[in-house]
């Protein structure tokens, strides 16, 4: 089987972006009905729905192409290996990276744990500092906390301002303390803030820190040009990027990955195993112990190619339009407070809000009766919840297939919550 040639850094933008109806027609689940309503899926920050291109790639793999990779000399295994490694090249092209800098993992959480465990254990010691932001997801907090406890390191927290933006002056002061590593989300999963990532990376690098970026929310939304961003590590997950669950990617600068010890020990990640000596495989296999999620990796690449065909610019413009419309409509609902920056270039389509006097679970429960799917709770960001002074928020998050009509339904359903709870 011939692998299609992929050019690093190349993303195609079609001449005319597809209409939202055309995009929607590629997602079978969006035709689902609940309580007589069509599904309004507004929980894309948790996971996106999957287009036919991805469903078909998975189906084709499981029906016709399944074999283990890097093992068999028979044709089927060679074909599976080729598809798996082609998937890596597709990811590498999207990231503008070398294929050896792309490690397949289960999800962004595993990517961040890999960095904390492997790089962190080797490079962070007693009294060293780790700089995180108040808006981090637990997956970019917990592994560092575990490392800090194990090594006797200290964690500093870069604060946010009242608009939900990172306070860059405070960040600059904290970075002067000389942290070994800076962990920062590219896009906040609660506030929708798009962090000025290049500037943050430059500030951290100037202070001699290594930077790990949590790109879980940025993955489906922003260009992921690693050279432009400049991060040392960048964590991605497929299922928020229209791909399957169970697969994600860690980008790591090659010299860092080369110097790091493996994460998971087992098959595939070794060059040789003798009774008294083990040597590691070359990159990226060194970090991929055990049989990988092969079909999922292939599905992930199909999702990346699908989004490239839609055009990242078109997807971004659509989301920005829906977001500013939603912010405008939500502002008219009494007793409702939206967190995060106002509409603008640093605002992604992730809207967390609080309806005064109603718990987010009750909001989400009533929205569900209108077949409006949102997330309720602390969003795995309890440090941020404390900063915002709330226990939980309700969150609507948009994707390429969402419409203004769905925003209207969200608003109508929120007014129904007000009615049920007699807020008028």
């Amino acid at each position: 089987m011939e692998a299609t040639a992929v050019t690093p850094g190349a993303t195609s933008t079609p001449a005319t972006p597809p209409r939202v109806e055309e995009v929607r027609s590629q997602f079978p689940i969006l035709a689902r009905e609940q309580n007589g309503h069509r599904l309004a899926y507004l929980d894309n920050g948790a996971t996106s729905q999957k287009p036919l291109a991805v469903i078909d790639a998975l189906d084709r793999y499981w029906r016709q192409q399944n074999a283990n990779v890097h093992r068999g000399v028979y044709r089927l295994s060679e074909e599976a290996t080729d598809l798996y490694e082609h998937a890596r090249r597709v990811l590498a092209a999207r990231l503008g990276a070398d294929r050896r800098e792309v490690v397949f993992v289960r999800n962004a959480t595993e990517a961040l744990n890999l960095v904390a465990y492997s790089w962190g254990r080797q490079n962070v010691g007693a009294g060293d500092r780790i700089l995180l932001t108040e808006m981090e997801h637990h997956s970019n907090i917990v592994p560092w906390y575990q490392l800090a406890v194990e090594k006797g390191a200290e964690i500093d927290w870069a604060p946010i301002d009242d608009d939900g933006r990172l306070d860059l002056e405070a960040f600059a002061r904290l970075v002067e303390r000389g942290p070994k590593i800076v962990g920062v989300a590219h896009v906040s999963n609660v506030l929708g803030t798009i962090n000025p990532i290049r500037r943050i990376v430059r500030m951290a690098h100037d202070a001699g820190a290594v930077v790990v970026v949590d790109g879980a929310q940025a993955g489906p939304k922003l260009p992921l040009d690693m050279a432009a961003i400049g991060a040392d590590f960048y964590a991605l997950t497929s299922h928020k990027m229209y791909g399957p669950t169970g697969i994600g990617a860690l980008y790591g600068r090659r010299e860092l990955l080369d110097a790091m010890p493996p994460f998971i020990g087992g098959g595939s990640m070794i060059r040789s195993v003798r009774r008294d000596e083990i040597t590691w495989a070359d990159l990226p296999a060194k970090f991929e112990g055990g049989t990988p999620p092969i079909g999922e990796a292939i599905g992930y690449a199909a999702a990346v190619e699908w989004l490239d065909a839609i055009g990242l610019d078109a997807a971004h413009a659509h989301e920005a339009e829906i977001t500013s419309y939603a912010l405008e409509r939500l502002a008219d609902i009494p007793d409702l407070r939206v967190f995060g920056p106002p509409a603008g270039e640093d605002r992604a389509g992730i809207l967390s809000f609080e309806l005064q006097g109603v718990h987010s679970h009750d909001v989400a429960e009533i929205l569900d009766r209108h077949a409006v799917c949102v997330r309720a709770g602390h969003h795995c960001a309890q440090v941020l919840m404390d900063r915002l002074g709330v226990a939980a928020t309700t969150r609507a998050s948009f994707a390429v297939y969402n419409t203004r009509e769905e925003v209207d339904r969200l608003v109508d359903a929120l007014n129904d919550v007000r009615r049920v709870f007699r807020l008028d």
Binding site: G357, V358, H359, S360, H361, D362, E365, I366, A376, G377, H378, Q382, M385, A391, A392, V420, F421, R422
Partner: protein
């Protein structure tokens, strides 16, 4: 008429009974709903015979968890620690009198779990009924 958010539930949510702290409590316990991070703290004062004299609770929560604990605390006077520990989940579900979905079961039973833990003096061994993935009708229907 809304089934889940019926008048009685909303009343208990907006004006929970026995809400506050007891400074001279004999038993107390605090726990969180891992699903959402909601917290409740229950205080129990016992009389000379070791029976519940006064109960109070505080915390942040949704309508279901707040109403459930509010209703529960109304019913505990006169019970011994052993009786508190043996209280079945149906006791709370009957008080609520509404269908509780699998995802909201933790909300409905948080207060009961804390009351039992307070009586035991340690975390009650707990397997929520109606857990996701449980297909048995008895646990799914809750009541």
């Amino acid at each position: 008429m809304d089934d889940l958010y019926r008048e009685q539930i909303l009343e208990h949510y907006k004006r929970p009974h026995n809400f506050g702290r007891l400074e001279d409590s004999d038993l107390e316990y605090e726990d969180t709903n891992p699903f959402c991070g909601d917290e409740q703290h229950v205080f129990i004062k016992l009389d000379g015979e070791g029976r519940v004299e006064e109960v109070a609770f505080e915390g942040k929560g949704c309508a279901i968890s707040t109403a459930a604990t509010s209703m529960l605390t109304d019913e505990l006077a006169g019970m011994s620690r052993e009786e508190l520990v043996r209280l079945p989940k149906e006791f709370v579900l009957d008080l609520l009198g509404i269908h509780i979905s699998a995802t909201r079961m933790k909300c409905a039973l948080l207060g009961l779990k804390i009351v039992k833990s307070a009586s035991l003096g340690s975390a009650a061994d707990w397997e929520d009924e109606g857990q996701p993935g449980d297909r048995s009708e008895a646990t799914r229907t809750g009541i």
